[in-house]
Amino acid sequence: MSTLAAYVDGVGFLGPGVGDWPAAAGILTGAASWESGPTVLPLPQCLPSTERRRTGPLVRLTLAVGLEATTRAGADPATLPAIFTSSGGDGENCHEICQALAAPGRQLSPTRFHNSVHNAAAGYWGIATGATPASNALCAHDGSFGAGLLEALCELAVERVRVLLIAYDASYPEPLHSVRPIPGSLGVALVLAPERSAQSVAKLEAAGSDAPADQMADAALEALRVSIPAARSLPLLAQLARRTSGRVVIDYLDGVRLAVQVNPCH
């Protein structure tokens, strides 16, 4: 696999007890300690009120991290192709549909149905930001972040444009929680660019690897990394937060992981 390069122009983050990228960076460098808590999801003011009422927590999560990353990158979100990647999408919505279909009468809400598509977050992102470039909606189970990063790097390499990557996951309610125990919501967004700019914080050079994925030194963060698919990004985010050069291996598939060389721009 050839090496794919990109500059990180902006990062967005929201997770259990962590409200934005600077807070995450503080925890990932060890400057602050992490205490898990609820993932606080801001109400999306950029959506029309008719749409805002229909949005679930995942739409709020993806809008929050996507807008944080584009703001930090100084990018107009309407102009960026976007890659959304998630293992399970909206688990609450999926549960409600399965429950309705198992009940007499099988009355399904039309809003629930159109929110059930795996690209629902991508659709609401477009409605909220006016973004009309291509958007993608990917899934690779626990390797969804790796799949999304690879897709983003390929799109950037071929199209030579800045792209937005948003990886996100949330809990299922019971009974699905027992068979897929994702403990909380976490979203991460990266604005990636083909050329270095004043906003660039680091250069990434990624290649395929069969080495094992890096783990987090902190036991609690390692538990987070393996329990929420989008958190498989944590070793990469930690390297970005440290602002030092280093190489990390992140999860994708067995035997197909991504080794990423990170070099800070400042």
């Binding site: 149905f113 598509v117 009309t132 470039p133 899934c139 690779a140 390929c154 390499a157």
Partner: protein, 400 residues
């Protein structure tokens, strides 16, 4: 973009298993839509069900992937020597150099729907033996196909509703062009389930009759199921004249509404224009268009306007969903294969069920088959969330 060869392709839908049966049905203008008798569904609608899916046995050792969607995937993979073509490709490039890019909208959700009827009355737990990863998860399809074909490169599912498997071609093309892989198994598989049957019904988008795309009295979709695959590779040094190439892909987002297109079809228009630009073609080069053509009043109207604004009103087109039903996440790949057959045999398939074309739609809609050598054709796929993708295919012997 650099054209890529479809060195093997296959399709299985309600109109037939494999290419010969599919082509024979297209030639005969046969619709496979029939009144719905699927599972316990009690909706007055017609569907395009693939016969015999539940009798399909998955390869030994892959029992963890048991579900209707993966059974349909395996039924599809075993047609037209497709797996043998992948094996030959693996011998040329190595198993790790072949990616898997597949579209599905609902994967194995049917298993979960059925399991919810058998929850433990006391605890509410799902029945023992429920498999989330192998059946329910959206990635299950690509994981299964990768294992079944013994490939070890990148694998991903694209799930953008009804544009999923068209976009799989675009993602695979980028990965090949970026040098990540040498070849890719692309395609889509979607299978009947209650979520989509009752869901589209709740949106009042389902016809009680077999769907009639572009008809003046069209009143909704008929849901179908399909498995369609293609092996995408860099163009070999020598290629038969009737070989089919992917020459252009264009994607866009509507940024408009979750389940309806903008009436002017501007998102569809943008996708078609980007596909033409990627193919370095002009609108006059497109000789046939396979419409997304779902058969809902607003979808066909928006697409008709978009197509007329990009290709003009003269280019012959049809929707094959009157024959196959709307196969949702598999539609892009199924209709890509139908386009490949159109190029190979010089057959523009007529759109069945449609009896009176809506004169308000500014397109040249084919109701009958039309034979003519074809060199470049377009296929449209549009999905919920405003996700649009247009693909352009051409014959290898096309002269410019």
């Amino acid at each position: 973009m650099t054209p890529l060869a479809l060195t093997s392709f296959t399709a299985t839908s309600a109109i037939g298993r494999g290419l010969d049966a599919t082509y024979a049905s297209l030639r005969a203008l046969r619709s496979a839509l029939a009144p719905c008798a699927f599972e316990t569904v009690d909706l007055g609608t017609c569907i395009g069900e693939v016969a015999g899916v539940d009798a399909v046995a998955l390869p030994p050792g892959l029992e963890e992937f048991e579900c209707r969607n993966n059974r349909l995937a395996w039924l599809g993979l075993t047609q037209d020597d497709f797996a043998a073509a992948v094996e030959a490709c693996a011998a040329r490039h190595g198993r790790a150099r072949i990616g898997v890019f597949l579209g599905t909208s609902t994967s194995g959700i049917l298993e979960t729907e059925l399991a919810y009827r058998r929850r433990d009355p006391a605890s509410g737990a799902l029945p023992a033996g429920f498999r989330y990863r192998g059946a329910h998860n959206t990635f299950s399809l690509a994981a299964f196909v990768q294992r079944a074909l013994r490939l070890s490169g990148p694998a991903v599912v694209i799930s953008s509703a009804c544009s999923s498997s068209a976009k799989a071609f675009a993602s695979a093309q980028r990965a090949i062009e970026a040098g990540v892989i040498e070849a890719a198994v692309v395609g889509g598989v979607d299978s009947l389930c209650l979520t989509t049957l009752y869901g589209f019904h709740s949106l009042q988008l389902v016809s009680a009759r077999p769907c009639r795309p572009f008809d003046v009295s069209r009143d909704g979709i008929s849901i179908g199921e399909a498995a369609a695959f293609a092996l995408l590779e860099r163009r070999p040094a020598s290629l038969e004249g009737d070989a089919v190439l992917l020459v252009g892909a264009g994607e866009s987002s509507d940024a408009y509404h979750m389940s309806a297109p903008p009436p002017d079809g501007r998102g569809a228009r943008a996708a078609m224009l980007r596909a033409l630009a990627a193919a370095d073609l002009v609108s006059e080069d497109i000789e046939y268009i396979n419409f997304h053509g779902t058969g809902t009043p607003s979808n066909d109207e928006a697409e008709g306007r978009a197509v007329a604004s990009v290709l003009g009103s003269e280019v012959p087109g049809s929707s094959t969903k009157g024959a196959t039903g709307h196969t949702l996440g598999a539609a892009g790949a199924l209709e890509a294969v139908i386009c490949a057959l159109a190029l190979r045999y010089g057959l523009m398939p007529g759109g069945v069920n449609t009896t009176e074309v809506d004169r308000a739609l500014p397109v040249s809609y084919l109701r009958e088959n039309c034979r003519r050598p074809l060199s470049a054709v377009m296929s449209n796929s549009f999905g919920f969330g405003g996700s649009n993708c247009s693909l352009i295919f051409a014959r290898a012997d096309r002269s410019r």
